[in-house]
Symmetry: C2
Subunit: 142 residues, 2 copies
Amino acid sequence: MAAESLPALPCACANLRRAARAVTRGYEAALKGTGLTPTQHTLLQALDLLGLSPQGALGELLAIDSTTLTRTLRPLERAGWVRAVSGADRREVRWALTLRGRRRLERARPAWERAQARLRTRLGADVWARLAADLAAVAGAA
Amino acid sequence: MAAESLPALPCACANLRRAARAVTRGYEAALKGTGLTPTQHTLLQALDLLGLSPQGALGELLAIDSTTLTRTLRPLERAGWVRAVSGADRREVRWALTLRGRRRLERARPAWERAQARLRTRLGADVWARLAADLAAVAGAA
DNA sequence: CGCCAATAGTTGTATATACAACCATATCTC
DNA sequence: GAGATATGGTTGTATATACAACTATTGGCG
């Protein structure tokens, strides 16, 4: 199982999406036992980071369309990992991680860290670090 | 519309997916008039690059599951942009870009190049170049 | 106040994505 | 050459994703 390097594609978008697909599969496999998909894990982690947060702000941080969040958050709410909190502006839906949600995230942590470590090892620390910064720039630039 | 830089996320997978979503939206908008989605454009471009190619090989190049290809290629076939060619091994489906497909790809080229140029300008040439290599490594490593 | 524009989310619809299970064909082994 | 195994794709099902159109609320502005 040598890491057969794929050729770079001419299209930056294609390159990004290909890498995202490949990595997602790895994280998905790693998170298998935790009952969380990569997307769900990311949502919980982001909410943990942000604290109580309007849906729009969550979407901005993750570059996820608000209409997508409506649907991806629904199962998390049903599972009791997040809850909607009403505030002054009644159009807004603000989301909070529940205690159950935090526990679930904590429970998934070892698996997530294994996935991170595995990729980091395969890439090398320099590429790994560079990539985090470059990808943040890309998300901001697009 | 300043390029408000988003903070890097703790999760490499989340970082990648966020960037992919953001960039995909840009390319999708740019390709709007061409009748091609980013995915479709990538498929045609890859097939142009590879020439006559078994479905599995195409999937490997793009890190797309073969079951996904079955479905994403179908509309391209119906549109007459690609066609299935039978070979010696009758399990295999080999795909070829048709003339119409090549023309469509060519027609989309200016729009695609605008999207590329736009992102490249916003990122700077150094990040752009580095990213292509790093992302290819990621796709191979995952 | 009372209309009008802007903003926050939801619903309808369509594409992209992949895993598990499956079918068909090829290859291997005796 | 026949049965076992491996390989290449398809179907069933589920999640992720977003655009267009819509609803509800808010914030001007006269």
